[in-house]
């Protein structure tokens, strides 16, 4: 790729255009490969599509732009602390589906840091839920017979099927 390019344009799965700086795009392995393979000079009109919806892609790009300076140059302890606080704020998405879409996107885009952060946030949201809430979120049917339920309950008095 040409070294003069500082930002690239990508398309979301909804067809919207987004700008992302090269250093931020490097946080994702597939995007990094894309940078190496595709010509991003001005006379090249090919715009790569990322299979992530617009709503989610906005958040992913926001994360990348915030984390890129640290990933590229290393950071002091105080920067790391500041970034940690930023991550907590960033993950304050009360709409769970954004969180889950972020997870899928981080997995698809091979972004280790965001994937780890999203998994931990999902785990923190889930840990206090009831079994039936969990089944609803993950579309899971209870496939235990009543005898099996009884046996599990005996072995682990802490568990509940509701």
């Amino acid at each position: 790729m040409s070294s003069s390019v500082e930002a690239i344009t990508v398309l979301s799965s909804d067809g919207d255009e987004f700008k992302i700086t090269v250093s931020a795009a490097k946080l994702s392995k597939p995007l990094n490969w894309m940078l190496e393979d595709v010509c991003f000079s001005d006379d090249c009109d090919e715009v790569p599509t990322i299979e992530v919806n617009s709503k989610t892609l906005v958040k992913v790009i926001e994360y990348c732009e915030k984390h890129a300076p640290r990933a590229n140059s290393g950071a002091s302890d105080s920067d790391a602390e500041e970034l940690k606080k930023w991550d907590i704020e960033f993950m304050k998405m009360d709409v769970k589906d954004i969180l889950f879409h972020i997870l899928m996107a981080a997995n698809y885009l091979h972004m280790e840091g965001l994937y780890d952060l999203a998994c931990q946030t999902a785990a923190d949201l889930m840990k206090g839920m009831t079994v039936s809430q969990i089944r609803k979120i993950f579309h899971i049917k209870n496939d235990f017979s009543s005898e099996e339920q009884e046996q599990l309950r005996r072995q682990h008095p802490g568990c509940s099927f509701d």
């Binding site: 709409v95 769970k96 589906d97 889950f100 879409h101 997870l103 899928m104 997995n107 994937y115 998994c119 931990q120 999902a122 785990a123 889930m126 840990k127 206090g128 079994v131 969990i134 089944r135 609803k136 979120i137 993950f138 579309h139 899971i140 049917k141 209870n142 496939d143 235990f144 099996e148 339920q149 599990l152 682990h156 802490g158 568990c159 509940s160 099927f161």
Partner: protein, 381 residues
């Protein structure tokens, strides 16, 4: 909202589940059969333990001043919150009616409760015979360790985990008069069997009882050896290490100390090295300070294999303290009970040099601990 939820690949679901606390997983095994089975696979248990260790390293503090069962154990988490240690009644009921080897000095927690990688090894006496149990309090599983090949009346124990062979092992030293090591057997949780191991290089080593420490795939003990070479001293302090994977004992020399006899010693690990904590009364002034030494191993055969370096000395503390272990960036110390005052725990911060108390009284007994699903897979014993 749930209608818009994407159908997750199993890989992502597993990545979330391994980050959940044990309590939630025990509940969520009722979600469906595949989750219940997933939680019992060795790879899930190992990955969960990895996250649990990284995120929630805990300390167990024995707050039972009387030294009798039932135990009063409490947990300290990274937020410095103290909570009651749950499920001790399982082990208490097993031990009820047991005679307890309650010579206070011999009955320190390290002498009978060992912790490694989410699992505890408990030693207690019944009819003046010592018995061993493996205990995972997080999932309420207790298993008796089978009798060893040799069943002596008294023995000394070490317990640890090796990531290389993914196995927990117990080492049992059989002791003759003056606590001299005469034989050793090793129990593997994976095979469920005891076997004898070679102790040739431990000849003359004695007094290994004091606080086995497990770290980095090995178990370490502070011991002593009758010294024939040094004439001005009748014995030599040393460290015995046991490589859990290779089942080999190695003797490691002690650092040269000025007042070795009068200080309190504990094994620990610091910055990925074996460490020794020494607490001593500075020139008998009634002020106590902690020295931290780390061990370097040299691979160059022309030089000494082992060398010790003193890398930290604490500020003096007016109380009689005993440095027990290093936990995160702090040395955990016990303040001895004195003149009617209860014993307590203080943390010495390695960066700020400050001593901070935390709200838990204790008699000697502090262990590192992590919540895990180990033993849930039911493949052992």
């Amino acid at each position: 909202m749930e209608k818009d939820m994407p159908i997750f690949p199993q890989e992502i679901i597993t990545s979330i589940l391994v980050r959940l606390p044990v309590k939630s997983l025990i509940r969520f095994q009722c979600v469906c059969k595949s989750w219940k089975n997933l939680f019992r696979t060795p790879s899930f248990i190992a990955e969960h333990l990895h996250h649990s260790t990284r995120q929630n390293p805990l300390l167990i503090v024995d707050s039972d001043v009387s030294g009798c069962i039932p135990w009063r154990l409490c947990l300290l988490n990274c937020e410095m919150e103290v909570s009651e240690f749950e499920n001790t009644h399982i082990i208490d009921s097993l031990m009820s009616g047991c005679f307890y080897c309650c010579n206070h000095m011999l009955c320190k927690m390290s002498g009978w409760l060992y912790s490694s990688n989410g699992l505890l090894c408990v030693k207690f006496s019944r009819n003046s015979q010592d018995h061993l149990w493996l205990w995972n309090p997080s999932i309420r599983v207790v298993r008796q360790v089978p009798e060893s090949l040799n069943e002596p009346k008294y023995f000394s124990v070490g317990f640890g985990f090796s990531p290389i062979i993914d196995d927990y092992k117990i080492v049992k030293f059989f002791l003759a008069g003056f606590s001299v090591v005469v034989q050793a057997e090793v129990y593997s949780l994976r095979t469920g069997l005891w076997r004898k191991v070679e102790v040739g290089n431990l000849e003359g080593v004695y007094d290994l009882g004091c606080g086995a420490f497990s770290w980095n795939g090995a178990i370490f003990w502070i011991g002593e050896k009758k010294d024939v070479e040094v004439h001005n001293k009748s014995h030599l302090e040393l460290i015995v290490s046991f490589d859990i994977a290779g089942e080999v004992f190695t003797l490691i020399p002690f650092p040269t100390l000025n007042s070795a006899d009068s200080c309190y010693k504990r094994l620990a690990s610091f910055e990925n090295k074996l460490a020794l904590l020494f607490t001593s009364d500075i020139e008998n002034s009634g002020s106590w300070a902690i020295d931290l030494w780390v061990l370097e191993e040299c691979t160059d055969p022309s030089r000494e294999r082992w060398s010790w370096a003193k890398i930290y000395t604490s500020t003096p503390n007016p109380c009689w303290i005993c440095a027990e272990i290093i936990w995160r960036n702090e040395i955990v110390c016990l303040v001895e009970a004195f003149e009617g005052e209860e014993g307590k725990v203080v943390l010495c911060n390695l960066t700020t040099n400050e001593f901070k108390p935390f709200g838990c009284s204790s008699r000697p007994g502090i262990l590192e601990y992590v919540e895990s699903l180990v033993l849930l897979d039911n493949i052992h014993v």
